[in-house]
């Protein structure tokens, strides 16, 4: 059962096709997580005590338990409270929720590194807080945490591999199906690894290019 390179090559096209599922889901998830994560950050900045206490528990749970368990809750346990979601919706909901927390936590770190000077100026000019958030804080914040967000995007892509447990046939599930009929789990996993590597490197590269261009236009 040595490593068969030809077999690896022969399965790559099918795995790449299956990766479209992961990419599509990841794109939706990242968009939602960014939006919700930003909203959560602004909400937390209001420092309403009961709200922040609840948020703290949610964050602790999301950070402290395996993502797979969170996906299971969304798909298998939520029907118990009357929320019966389709596999893709449940998967998107679970990973977005998870990623939202990580986005907000990255923002917390990013905020601390922002120079308060412009905010003071904006406040002195009489700008209202929503405007200050939208025009002053968030643009700086996104620029600062861009690398972290790109990293989060690659994590989301890897996370979509877990959706196979709730009937989403993605790269990993396709690889598993191949492995079980060819009895070659090693090659199929390496194939899946390559597909993930290519997708994530593409994301990192695109992110870096965008960042560089963004930085260039600012000079």
């Amino acid at each position: 059962m040595g490593f068969k390179f030809e077999y690896l090559l022969s399965i790559l096209p099918d795995l790449a096709l299956a990766a479209l599922v992961n990419v599509r889901l990841a794109a939706v998830i990242i968009a939602i997580a960014l939006m919700l994560g930003t909203m959560l950050t602004v909400l937390r900045s209001l420092k309403l005590r009961p709200v922040n206490a609840v948020v703290a528990i949610v964050i602790s749970f999301v950070r402290g338990t395996p993502l797979l368990i969170q996906i299971f809750i969304a798909y298998y346990v939520l029907p118990a409270v009357g929320l019966d979601l389709t596999p893709e919706v449940a998967g998107i909901a679970a990973i977005s929720f998870n990623s939202m927390v990580f986005v907000s936590e990255s923002m917390r770190g990013g905020l601390a590194s922002i120079d308060p000077g412009p905010l003071e100026a904006a406040t002195a000019l009489g700008l209202r807080p929503p405007v200050i958030w939208w025009k002053v804080v968030l643009p700086q914040l996104f620029r600062r945490i861009a690398p972290v967000l790109i990293n989060e995007a690659t994590i989301v892509v890897k996370g979509t591999a877990l959706l196979s447990v709730i009937t989403v046939v993605d790269v990993l599930r396709t690889a598993q199906q191949m492995a079980s009929s060819s009895y070659r789990p090693f090659e199929t996993l390496v194939g899946a690894a390559l597909v993930f590597l290519v997708v994530n490197l593409a994301i990192s590269l695109a992110g870096k290019t965008a960042e560089a261009r963004f930085a260039a236009t600012r000079m």
Partner: protein, 290 residues
């Protein structure tokens, strides 16, 4: 991110991190006005959960789920008058929570019968005899059960062959031998095959139908050693329904019985395994089963 074994998780593994229950969440399943069988008959639609990564029972070929189990399912669909079949493919760890949460009507994937499972799920009539067998590397000198003394033996974690392997170890020790050197439990059978091939372990214990096909596929690498004792396990393989769907279970069992009696089942066994099996009418369930 937390990836908990999205590996080719096999079959008899009882699920991996299945649904965790958020603390304080109360389970209150919606009361069902009609039974699952009535619903299937009314809508003409059937949804089943399958782990399509277990040849020759259920596996994917050219993008379609095929295999021994799929052929039987086709007959069941016909008999129940189902017009539309949704066959969901998911790893073993999602199968049992899925059926409990009502995500599909029953499990159309082969599940080994054992005592604990039988208390919580309703088994249909068996579709195959999963007689446990030992497999070795081609040419290794393991020909009788006693040869497993001092060997590293592997099987799947929480599978129906795990208790078989433990019982075998105990039996070897009771006979005065040293027993296995180690029992290694993998979360999926394919991994135990790789471990056997690369010398990590010396023998795999698994049910005969699966091993027979594997040995046929890889005659240069693997070889059947001998049947192991059935002690500690009920070796028949069947499908399961939710415990409150006995009606549905009986309907499926009826189809299987009919197929056995008119020889269709034996023909399918010849087609997929290369040999026919004896399927009993009773005695396949452990005491206290549904």
């Amino acid at each position: 991110m937390s990836i908990i074994n999205p590996s080719p998780v096999g079959r008899r593994t009882c699920s991996l991190l299945t649904g965790a229950v958020c603390v304080g969440l109360v389970f209150a399943w919606p009361a069902q006005a009609e039974t699952t069988l009535e619903k299937i008959r009314r809508t003409g639609e059937l949804t089943v959960g399958t782990e399509a990564a277990f040849p020759p029972f259920e596996f994917v070929k050219d993008g379609k789920i095929v295999g021994y189990g799929s052929d039987i399912l086709a007959e069941v669909v016909k008999e129940l008058g189902v017009k539309k079949l949704n066959q969901l493919d998911l790893p073993w760890q999602g199968i049992l929570p899925g059926v409990l949460a009502g995500k599909f009507d029953f499990v159309a994937t082969t599940v080994g019968i054992n005592e604990e499972r039988a208390k919580r799920y309703a088994y249909t009539m068996p579709i195959a005899d999963g007689m446990p067998y030992a497999m070795k590397r081609k040419g290794d000198a393991i020909t009788k059960i006693e040869d497993l003394n001092g060997k590293v033996v592997g099987t799947q974690l929480a599978s129906s062959t795990e208790p078989v392997a433990r019982a075998l170890d105990a039996k070897l020790k009771a006979a005065g031998g040293p027993g296995f050197k180690e029992l290694k439990l993998f979360t999926a059978f394919p991994e135990s095959y790789v471990a056997l091939a690369n010398g990590e372990i010396d023998a795999v214990i698994q049910s005969l139908p699966s091993l027979a096909v594997l040995v046929k596929e890889k005659p240069d690498i693997f070889e059947l050693a001998m049947p192991t004792s059935k002690d500690g396990g009920f070796t028949y393989l069947a499908w399961v329904t939710r415990p409150d769907d006995k009606e549905l279970r009986d309907a499926i069992s009826g189809v299987i019985r009919k197929m056995r009696d008119d020889g269709r089942l034996a023909a399918l066994q010849e087609k997929w395994f290369g040999f026919a099996m004896t399927i009993p009418d009773e005695g396949y369930l452990p005491p206290g089963a549904m």
